[in-house]
């Protein structure tokens, strides 16, 4: 066993904040090494330092026994270190082959046939198949992930850093990815896996390093004696025992939201939602599992009144609201936790107080005649900030002053305020740590139970949905699939529904 990457005493400060404090990381050659921790624990910062994207204030990096200091990612690549970041760096308008070569072209003149032959050889070795001349935009998330890995191989990387590689993949694609990664490891390549999915760590990795608040918390080998279990890992990550979630069963009340064979047109004119029917009852939290881009977005658009409904209807408390616009829907109690909080959830230059009222300004008790009741607005903002303990420096400060996680807390709390009827949550816990995630789901369930409302939660993380929702349905290619009786909590069965393989 030889150590291929050794980082010792890495320290990095951003202003007054110490993002990394004397962090060590030892990675053995030919292994899959997991790096876990909450958001803000310093995982990504540490990896960016290794990859040359950031400078460390102190500490030593050794690669294959030699002291290294990369000033940019090009130098890191030259030394055989490559990184696939969470947001793919594939350019959809270029062909797969062009994406593969970009930045590492074989020469000034590109002999496309030779390049294609080499690319195919590389892909075959990994058991992948690509039509190299097709635009990369036509790739599925799993295909894009494979292309990213091939890009590293093309650059002859032997140490690969993968940041949350399964975040956008279906369970089956995720498993297939690990088969490929294990093959790479068997061939001697080293993989550093940044993840928050603990089952992945325990099933597929051979070592795990846990960071918390910018410090080393634990380092363990997996598969040997004293292997930590998931609860132990979670406790390391959070810093104390994490209570297991117990969802108290709820007897569904009367139906609140009813979707009847709804068909919705997408942005590009295609039919994105193809006849979905779903009924939600009082007190119910329903998880909508699916790979990104399978109609979740368009379904939500139709439900908040901005989508183009081709056919079908939406009933709220028995009343047809299909033709009502977003203002009407808000009044009826439809609330959204949007996918992209920066773009759709808040106005970043406005104060927290104004953002608290954003979208709710026409509702009692905020409205008083033609005016907005400023006192009520301040009270509401305070309550929203309090709910998930948003860290802020004052309600009068602009939204921009909040970190992403805190903005998400704020937006989620806002959706639960002022008597909602239906809560539509698109990845409500994106960017939140474990505690924040648990708090948001607990509050969702509590609101639904207490006020007799219902919620749909879209997430790309099936495990999270199974753990937190009353029931889970799958969406694939714009159609809805409900698990068979007896398989409602069956991860593999729902995973198959997500990819249409049932």
């Amino acid at each position: 066993m030889s150590t291929i990457v050794s980082m010792t005493g890495i320290t990095r400060r951003f202003g007054a904040v110490t993002a990394l404090d004397q962090v060590d990381l030892q990675v053995e050659a030919g292994k899959i090494h997991a790096l876990v921790g909450e958001n803000g624990a310093g995982k990504t910062t540490l990896m960016r330092i290794l990859y040359g994207g950031l400078d460390a204030d102190a500490g030593v990096i050794e690669v294959e026994g030699q002291s290294r200091h990369f000033r940019n990612s090009a130098e890191a690549i030259a030394s055989g270190i490559g990184m696939v970041s969470q947001h793919y760096s594939i350019i959809p308008e270029l062909t797969c082959l062009q994406n593969l070569m970009l930045g590492a072209e074989p020469g000034l003149w590109i002999a496309e046939r030779d390049a294609e032959a080499r690319a195919t050889e590389l892909a075959t070795r990994m058991g992948f198949e690509f039509s190299w001349r097709a635009p990369a935009g036509s790739l599925s998330p799993a295909g894009a992930q494979k292309l990213e890995i091939l890009k590293l191989l093309w650059r002859q990387a032997r140490i690969m850093i993968l940041d949350e590689p399964t975040a956008m993949l279906s369970p089956a694609d995720g498993d297939a990815l690990f088969v490929s990664l294990k093959q790479l490891a068997a061939e001697g390549d080293t993989i550093i896996l940044v993840t928050h999915r603990l089952p992945e760590v325990l099933q597929h990795c051979s070592h795990v390093t846990v960071l918390r608040g910018g410090r080393n918390v634990a380092h363990a080998a997996i598969g040997e004696h004293e292997t930590p279990d998931a609860a132990q890992l979670a406790a390391w990550i959070v810093g104390h025992e994490v209570p297991e979630v117990q969802i108290e069963a709820v007897a569904p009340g009367k139906p609140v939201l009813e979707i009847r064979s709804l068909r919705v047109r997408g942005d590009r004119g295609e039919e994105a939602v193809k006849g979905i029917s779903l009924r939600l009852h009082e007190g119910e939290v329903v998880g909508l599992a699916g790979v990104d881009g399978n109609g979740q977005r368009e379904l939500f658009q139709a439900l908040i009144g901005v989508g183009t409904v081709l056919e079908g209807s939406v009933l709220l408390d028995g009343r047809d609201v299909t033709r009502d616009g977003p203002v009407e829907r808000l009044r009826q109690g439809v609330r959204l936790i949007p996918e992209d909080r920066h773009e759709e959830g808040v106005v970043e230059d406005w104060s927290l107080e104004l953002n608290a009222a954003l979208g709710l300004q026409r509702l009692e008790p905020l409205r008083s005649g033609l005016w907005v009741d400023v006192g009520e607005r301040r009270a509401l903002a305070g309550a929203i900030a309090e709910r998930f303990r948003t860290k802020h420096g004052g309600l009068g400060l602009p939204m921009r002053s909040l970190s992403g996680g805190n903005q998400q807390r704020f937006v989620a709390a806002r959706a639960l305020a002022l008597k909602p009827r239906v809560i539509l949550a698109f990845q409500p816990t994106r960017g939140l740590d474990i505690e924040g995630t648990l708090a948001v789901y607990a509050a969702l369930r509590e609101t639904c139970r207490r006020e007799g409302v219902c919620a749909i939660v879209v997430s790309f993380d099936l495990d999270e949905l199974l753990e937190q929702c009353d029931r889970v349905v799958a969406i694939n290619g714009g159609a809805l699939f409900e698990p068979k009786p007896g398989e409602e909590r069956d991860r593999a069965a729902i995973g198959r529904l997500m990819v249409g393989a049932a």
Binding site: S73, A74, I77, S85, S89, I90, I91, P92, E93, L94, Q98, M101, L102, G103, A104, E105, G107, L108, W109, I110, E112, K151
Partner: protein
């Protein structure tokens, strides 16, 4: 409908297309790198003026180099404004057009010798013909088959991702604008060579027509070149139809005059082909 001379039409059209072709290829490198370029007009105009003045003083080759140099200076100004100071691309393009208009007028008034208003020395026309008609083919090959072309294409589509892959978008854009300057310089030199002397505002909107052709051609060299030739044809039809009677009615020459501009307007309004724009156009 009067005398419509097809032979004359086919003879004049290529000449009228040349400046459009060169300028459109200049626009291509710029817009493919992600920089919106409404300043083709100004870059051509400054080249017209400087080529005329320097040809008279130092001979045609130095004149050509001077014209290209002047256009390159404006192109580099464009690059510095948009890349270093993050000025909006449309605003900086506007500014460059205004600078070029004023500067060419000033230089012309200042340096034109009243005693020598005769013809300026010219390079052989064939030089421009070969350059203009070979350029789209060369660019097509460059974009499809070379490292530089791939990087140009990538930066125009997504500068951030290109940067992640180790490509320096700013460098690519400076080079792209350098090429824009050279091609617009050539276009201006041809205009003044063809006309024989410099006239204030002589580009007469050809920079914008070239841009329209580029958009019509979907930002691809060969289709854009074909669009330029089509505009050239339209121009020569327009010249012939002036003063002719159509269906017995006398149509004012201004109508025919406006034809190429009308077509340009329709193309620029984005009714056609906007959807094929480089995805990163105008992004920092």
């Amino acid at each position: 409908m009067g005398s419509f001379d097809l032979i004359l039409l086919l003879k004049t059209a290529p000449g009228l297309s040349l400046a459009l072709l060169l300028a459109a290829m200049g626009g291509l490198t710029s817009e493919r790198s992600g920089i919106i370029n409404i300043a083709l007009e100004g870059k051509m105009l400054i080249s017209c003026c400087v080529t005329a003045l320097m040809s008279v003083a130092f001979g045609p080759w130095i004149g050509l180099l001077g014209g290209i140099g002047a256009a390159v200076v404006l192109a580099m100004l464009h690059a510095v404004l948009t890349q270093m100071y993050r000025v909006d691309h449309i605003v900086s393009g506007m500014a460059i057009n205004i600078i070029a208009f004023g500067a060419s007028n000033f230089l012309d008034k200042k340096f034109t010798d009243i005693n020598r208003t005769g013809e300026i020395p010219q390079l052989p026309f064939e030089f421009y013909y070969v350059a203009a008609f070979a350029l789209p083919l060369v660019l097509w090959l460059y974009l499809r088959r070379t490292k530089g072309g791939l990087r140009l294409w990538a930066v125009g589509n997504d500068p951030d991702k290109a940067r992640q892959m180790g490509v320096d978008p700013v460098k690519v854009r400076y080079l792209a604008l350098l090429a824009t300057g050279v091609f617009c310089g050539l276009a201006g030199a041809w205009l003044v060579t063809n006309a024989g002397r410099f006239v204030d505002g002589m580009t007469a909107g050809r920079g914008f027509i070239a841009l329209a052709a580029l958009i019509l051609g979907g930002w691809r060299p060969i289709p854009a070149a074909l669009a330029c030739i089509a505009f050239g044809l339209l121009d020569s039809i327009q010249l012939q139809l002036q003063g002719s009677k159509l269906l017995g009615a006398g149509i004012p020459s201004q109508f025919w005059n406006s034809l190429p501009y009308l077509a340009t307007l329709i193309a620029l309004a984005g009714l056609l082909g906007r959807n094929r724009a480089p995805a990163g156009l105008g992004k920092p």
